[in-house]
Subunit: 311 residues, 2 copies
């Protein structure tokens, strides 16, 4: 039996998993992300945690196929990271450093991209090879998998779909400095922005006025049939559908996997996205499946393990 490690580095904790080569998760745990001193301790901490686990399980290096690591920032195909503010890293040859720390093979990729790979392997995109995952969280992230492999892009920027422009008339400014970015409409904060903007002009009664507005509150209200909330969800879906229709004309996936905190609203989301998508999709790209992510917080460690097992 051979094994591998899947690692998902976040700004506050590092999720780690031990997998068999057939894909079973034997163990998972977390360590703290030490971002001080430009995050110089992060990879050594991961390496130490791997060796502890190998000792605990009495696994020799010869039976470990390698280590996959997902990182919150742009990662190029050769495993270099060109700066991740969340971890304090500047330019880092993460693959080389990880291999030299562990003496084992390592693969590094962007965290949203490995999540997409994880969902392809064991989640909402099971059995597919051409998949786009959209992560609707505080921001909007994405990962593109084609032919079963992550598309990293020339600068590690492939799948950065949160900043696709979906509204050239927008005057509010996005965190990136642009205007009309998908993130301004489809992230958790974007949905709140849409709801608040609507409430300013809205005269009808709505449960959204009763408490502090969150993305969850919007979709809870949708489930209760609140007409104002439904219109907010329609606006959210119109912009996300627009972005995905354009994206499909570039990479033509089989399935869109919707993940991130906003996706916890459940299946109620799908029609709001799918209807405007179909209105704009080209002939060849109408036949695409929309599905929810199913792995939750495990998507990252699964995808990172799959990086190792695909090689």
């Amino acid at each position: 039996m051979k094994y591998c490690f899947g690692v998902d580095v976040g700004g506050t904790s590092v999720k780690m998993g031990l997998f068999t080569e057939s894909g079973e998760i034997l163990d998972k745990w977390e360590i703290v992300t030490r971002t001080e001193n430009k995050g110089e301790g992060i990879l050594p901490d991961i390496s130490a945690a791997i060796f502890n686990k190998m000792q605990e399980r009495q696994l020799d290096k010869s039976v470990v196929l390698g280590v996959g690591v997902g990182v919150p920032g742009p990662v190029t195909e050769d495993g270099t990271v060109s700066g991740t503010p969340n971890l304090g890293w500047e330019y880092k040859d993460a693959k080389k450093e990880m291999e030299s720390l562990t003496g084992m093979k390592a693969w590094i990729a962007n965290d949203a991209n490995v999540a997409a790979l994880g969902e392809m392997w064991k989640g909402g995109g099971l059995g597919e090879k051409n998949l786009v995952m959209i992560t609707l969280g505080t921001g909007v992230g994405g990962g593109v998998v084609l032919g079963g492999r992550i598309v990293p892009g020339s600068h590690g920027a492939a799948g950065e779909i949160g900043h696709i422009c979906v509204n050239y008339e927008e005057t509010d400014v996005c965190g990136c400095g642009g205007s009309g970015c998908l993130e301004q409409y489809a992230s958790a904060t974007g949905i709140v922005r849409l709801a608040k903007r609507k409430l300013e002009k809205e005269k009808r009664d709505t449960v959204l006025r009763k408490e502090s507005v969150t993305a969850k509150a919007v979709f809870d209200a949708v489930k209760e049939g609140d007409a104002v909330a439904v219109e907010v969800a329609e606006e959210f879906g119109r912009y996300l559908g627009r972005a995905l229709a354009n994206l499909a004309l570039v990479v033509d996936p089989t399935v869109f996997v919707i993940g991130g905190g906003v996706s916890k609203a459940g299946e109620v989301l799908i029609p709001f996205i799918q209807k405007p998508y179909l209105e704009r999709a080209g002939f060849g790209t109408k036949d695409v499946r929309f599905t929810l992510a199913t792995l939750g917080n495990d998507a990252g460690i699964c995808g990172s393990a799959k990086l190792v097992l695909s090689k």
Copy 2:
């Protein structure tokens, strides 16, 4: 010495080329595209032309690595074509048919995609692996090459960038039934449309009013410093730049190769596209090269040959 054939099927003629395995073009010629009877004669005609050439050159099947064919319609990874109005084809297993006709290996791909591969191999994208080619002709086509390979998409629809929406306020309808498609602004006919729309409201003197407006006339006038033509070119570039900025956030290429009839205007085109691109491009995708296609009508046969030689 081994050889291969590169074939580019158009609606009126089929371009054919004989290549050495090192990529030299030994011979190129054309045959007529017989679209009658649902185009059933097209592949047999190609096969016969290949055998004629092999006889003429005294080449045995054992030294021919295979045949690559570019087709004007959606082609999936397995070489099936799901309908090409230009050729009269309905569903066709073109790879299987070509292999059975010739007794040699065949690879089939979309014509815009093989042109992109050709430009990567020998043209404007020489030396690159992540490239998007944009063909500005009667319509707007595109081809995406990642990691040195064509991205066909799940339905053969990847790279259909002419129908990316770049203006959600547009009221004129595109040939596809949608509105605001890139093709309405960046094709040869789209540029004429922009120019005519401008001339209706324009009071300044401009050479564009003197003759029938064509895309070529617009860029000729730009070269002469005609202020109205410059504004038409700016509008063209703004929409194309918008589309490419969104596209870059999906696949993050190293280079954009601009081809098709409109690109004959030359280097004058590039700043009109690059400036609005840079205004919208995300941080990671600003560092992209814009270049003109250099292979002209040979891009298709070159890319088709490369399909064979990459395998």
